[in-house]
């Protein structure tokens, strides 16, 4: 290619000018933080609603976050193979092999774990006694562990009666677990592994989990269990009026909220039965510890042991949170000083950290409405410490006071969580009878469902009166005595799993005793005798219907001359 010298000189000059202009505009742009690059991430389907909502929230500011909720394992894998700018995962990279899943995972690119959404592993169930749906089931951790390891197989088990405060009629327990690898399975099995090793270890080993048998993303199926693919299918199985009866399964709280499925109140270490409400989970997670030892293999991973045994009476013990796996400037991996993934550059870091500043602060206001729990201060601070290691990051809020951070649990030096999270209902204390609180509860009856973040978030908005003295321990805006029809949960709009503490008794005056009392004797466990009388009656009716026709035909055939 021949270029005229003069023109080439002009061209060079033009290029120079252009470069200066572009560089100048670039610097001004970074100064005003207006040029964002699209981010691409994938992973946890559990966190997807939150991530979608939060990426939609920052979209008007020019930040595009593309997220594909194809599962935590896929998200981690994509991060390892440099296919994603960030990954959302309910669990960390596997440092030890999963008893029922894959081996260990090792990223060769530097990464940090940032908490993004918290939530409680909820136990959804479907129990109908005497035509009335039970919504106030409460169980201790040990009973739950026994149910999910096949030790307790019938609802009439004395352990359940002891926890619930009243015997339930005999009915087979159908345990619903996830068939796909999921964070919920991992969190639940980790809790059992830590709190009830004598139940989990033998169960896990009997299912072929090997000698070590740690927590697993893949909950093993066992006799009496039904496996379902995905949280939505677990929820829809349990809520089914026909085959879902007598079933219990673990799932995310959002599915219980949106499908009006009752949730088990789990006994915490303080001796209270509590629900996985946003505030209860956030309270529990104040004891979550982030490993700060850079040489440890579990560096920056969560340690929830303190959460399980948190002694605050508001604690929901099975609380956990989901990570965002984000690039880090450098990290020691297998003795090598690894850098961030090659596809990740500082401009992406600017975008990502700007988004994270929103995610860890203001975005948490919406956590409750989305069915999650807001992150408490310790996790927000832990998250920001990692965001500060993203290449090209912007400034984070000050970590002492969290000034300017609109987090619902902590802002401007005040821990709203400790102050405002409702105390548990005294009726939820271990040992109180089910009839407790029958007089107190209906006072709080408001038949509205939570529609905005303020209803479920903990921070009291100015002007919102947060009834901390409310006897049932639920935030305002939740209906109290739920009247659930026996047919379909969605039919009754006044039902809210929040009110698991209330009963589905037809009248709000009776509380707890009505449904369980009547039919215990009616449905006797010996099924064979139940069939005898109805069977005979049925045969009688059939004979009465069929005989005239048969006789008529026979007579007609016999009639002479007809053939």
């Amino acid at each position: 290619m021949m270029i005229d010298p003069i023109r080439s000189k002009w061209a060079r000059f033009a290029a120079l000018v252009a470069t200066v202009v572009i560089a100048g505009s670039a610097t001004t742009q970074t100064a005003t933080a207006a040029s964002y690059v699209p981010l691409q991430g994938d992973g946890s389907s559990w966190a997807q609603p939150a991530i979608d909502q939060w990426s939609r929230d920052v979209n008007p500011r020019g930040i595009t976050v593309n997220f594909s909720g194809d599962g935590s394992a896929a998200g981690r894998q994509h991060y390892i193979v440099n296919q994603a700018d960030f990954a959302a995962s309910d669990i960390a990279f596997l440092t030890s092999p999963d008893p029922f899943g894959a081996g260990t995972e090792q990223s060769s690119y530097a990464y940090s774990y940032v908490p993004i959404v918290a939530g409680g592993t909820s136990f959804l169930y479907n129990l109908v006694v005497g035509g009335k749906r039970i919504t106030n089931l409460r169980l201790s951790g040990e009973t739950l562990a026994k149910i999910f390891t096949g030790k307790i197989t019938d609802w009439s088990d004395p352990a359940i009666a002891h926890d619930y405060g009243q015997p339930l009629p005999s009915q087979k327990i159908t345990v619903i677990t996830r068939s796909d690898g999921s964070g919920a399975s991992y969190m639940f099995s980790r809790w059992m592994w830590k709190e009830y090793p004598s139940l989990w270890k033998p169960f896990c080993q009997a299912q072929g989990g090997g000698a070590g048998c740690g927590p697993s993303e893949f909950y093993p199926g066992f006799s009496g269990s039904v496996q379902r693919n995905g949280s939505d299918q677990v929820a829809s199985y349990i809520s089914s009026p026909s085959f879902g009866e007598g079933s219990i399964g673990y799932d995310e709280y959002a599915y219980a909220l949106n499908n009006n499925i009752p949730v088990v109140k789990v006994l915490n270490k303080a001796g209270y039965y509590s629900l996985p409400t946003p505030s209860n989970v956030a309270i529990a997670l104040q004891r979550a510890v982030i490993d700060q030892n850079p040489s440890s293999p579990t560096f920056l991973m969560q340690n929830l042991d303190g959460v399980y045994t948190n002694s605050d009476p508001r604690t929901y013990p099975l609380s956990s949170y989901s990570y965002l796996i984000i690039p880090r400037d450098h990290r020691l991996i297998n003795g090598n000083n690894a850098g961030p993934p090659p596809r990740f550059d500082p401009s992406k870091g600017t975008t990502l950290s700007t988004w994270m500043n929103y995610v860890l602060c203001g975005a948490q206001q919406k956590a409750g409405a989305l069915g999650y729990s807001p992150l408490p201060k310790n996790l927000v601070v832990g998250g920001f410490e990692q965001v500060a290691h993203v290449p090209g990051h912007v400034a984070t809020p000050d970590l002492k006071q969290l000034n300017g951070c609109n987090n619902p649990t902590y802002s401007n030096g005040v821990n709203h969580l400790i102050v405002d999270a409702p105390q548990p209902n005294p009726c939820d204390k271990l040992g109180t009878p089910l009839t407790c609180g029958a007089a107190a509860a209906p006072a709080a009856a408001t038949s509205s469902r939570p529609t905005s973040g303020s209803a479920t978030s903990i921070a009291p908005q100015p002007g919102t009166t947060q009834a901390t003295t409310q006897p049932n321990g639920a935030p305002t805006g939740h209906s109290a005595p739920a009247v659930a029809g026996p047919v379909s949960p969605s039919a009754s709009t006044s039902t809210d799993p929040e009110t698991g503490q209330q009963v589905t008794a037809g009248q709000s005056t009776s509380d707890g005793t009505l449904p369980a009392a009547v039919p215990v004797a009616l449905q006797s466990p010996s099924g064979s005798r139940n069939w005898l009388l109805p069977g005979l009656t049925a045969l009688d009716i059939l004979a009465a219907v069929a005989l005239p026709g048969v006789v008529l035909t026979w007579l007609r055939r016999r009639r002479p001359g007809d053939e």
């Binding site: 979209n59 008007p60 593309n66 909720g69 959002a254 109805p534």
Partner: protein, 409 residues
């Protein structure tokens, strides 16, 4: 057939005369008064038997199933009802007609109810999607907006599926452009060229038809995304769809090409045309409408595929009209992602997109029927003009007149 047989046997059996008179007079009214199970027999007696048996079966099953026996569940109820209906119908018929006709009647009912069941299932599926999807799709913004400004907490009056619609159309277009030449040429190889290689090729194509869709996605993910380093994009998704479409196009194109009368080829060869010329000027134009049907059916199949695009397309909530860079969402992926959300609005959006997808497939099928209604060799006016152009002016008039004969041969 049945009613004549029945009427004959009725006459032979000398069953009371009024029945026959009614049978001759009543048919239209009786057919209208029937339940949906209308069988060929139209005599009042047989109608009564059918209707009465159905009613009696429902009543009996209700008493036994719901009241007496400790059973419950809708599925069991209707299965028992059906069984009782068959028995009763057979029994009642036995009092009217001889055994041979009873068997005929029962089998007729069995076959008819199987067909009705399938129809009911299809209608139920369509109806359910329309019912659930109407909430979302009745808002005008659902087809004119993307999800970039709508999250799970936003009402249905914001956000939509425009980006998924665009993605679906683009991916389908790319997949069609790639797979149709490949598929048609493979079919030409099988039909026109043949040879020892044709058999293994056909076997492989047949095996590929049964290939699980997710394998196609995995293959493209491993080969194109991971090995070649092309990011997850609409193009990668289209390639995965291509893997799905090629065997479908090849299989149906092969069948269509085989339908082209051998006489046409022989005539072409006899005129001294080469094989290439014969294929391009005789075989392909003759089979054009059939090939178009094959292609459209393959497109309809591909546009509804989720698993191939699951691994290859990525996911975005915003518009990405460029299939070659960045994630691009298509309708099935949009449905798959959003139907699993806990929020009811997102599920409604998924069903709305499902409705849109169904309409899209329906349009494609209607197109296929429209294009494929003709038999091979039957040419439209435009095709005839084209044939005249190709054949040259000399055969102008003859091409038109001889054409129907050719297609018959």
């Amino acid at each position: 057939m049945t009613d004549t047989l029945e009427r004959q046997t009725e006459r032979m059996e000398r069953i009371d005369a009024p029945g026959i008179a009614e049978a001759d007079a009543a048919p239209p009214r009786a057919a209208g008064a029937l339940t949906r199970i209308v069988i060929r027999s139209v005599s009042a007696a047989s109608c009564t038997a059918l209707f009465g048996a159905a009613l009696a079966a429902i009543a009996l099953t209700w008493v036994l199933y719901e009241r007496v026996l400790p059973l419950s569940g809708a599925l069991g109820f209707w299965m028992c009802t059906y069984l009782a209906f068959l028995l009763m119908y057979a029994g009642v018929s036995r009092t009217q007609v001889p055994g041979r006709v009873v068997v005929d009647r029962v089998v007729t009912v069995l076959v008819a109810s199987a067909g009705l069941l399938v129809l009911a299932i299809v209608l139920d599926q369509i109806g359910y999607v329309v019912f659930r999807g109407w909430d979302a799709i009745r808002h005008e913004n659902f087809v004119s907006q993307t999800m970039s400004l709508a999250g799970p907490l936003d009402p249905l009056t914001s956000g939509g599926m425009l980006h998924a619609l665009v993605g679906s159309l683009e991916q389908m277009a790319i997949a069609t452009v790639v797979s149709v030449p490949l598929g048609v040429f493979a079919a030409l190889f099988l039909v026109e060229v043949g040879g020892p290689l044709a058999r293994p090729v056909r076997t492989i194509v047949e095996a590929m038809t049964a290939l699980p869709e997710i394998i196609a996605g995995l293959f493209i993910y491993a080969f194109v995304v991971l090995s070649l380093g092309i990011d997850q994009s609409g193009f990668a998704a289209a390639l995965a769809l291509t893997v799905m479409m090629i065997p479908i196009v090849t299989r149906s194109a092969e069948v269509i090409l085989r339908l082209v009368p051998g006489g046409l080829r022989e005539a072409s060869y006899a005129l001294g045309a080469s094989q290439v010329r014969t294929v391009f000027t005789v075989v392909l134009p003759t089979a054009r409408s059939g090939l178009a049907t094959a292609v459209i059916l393959a497109m309809a199949r591909a546009v509804g595929e989720t698993s191939p695009v699951l691994l290859t397309a990525g996911f975005t909530s915003g518009m990405n009209a460029d299939p070659f860079s960045g994630p691009q969402v298509s309708l099935p992926l949009y449905i798959y992602s959003y139907v699993r959300f806990p929020q009811p609005t997102m599920v409604a959006r998924a069903f709305g997109a499902g409705l849109a997808l169904m309409v899209m497939v329906l349009v494609l099928f209607a197109l296929a029927r429209l294009v494929g209604g003709k038999t091979p060799g039957e040419l439209s006016k435009r095709q005839m003009r084209r044939m005249q152009r190709v054949s040259g002016p000399a055969v102008e008039s003859r091409a038109v007149t001889t054409d129907p004969q050719l297609s018959e041969g």
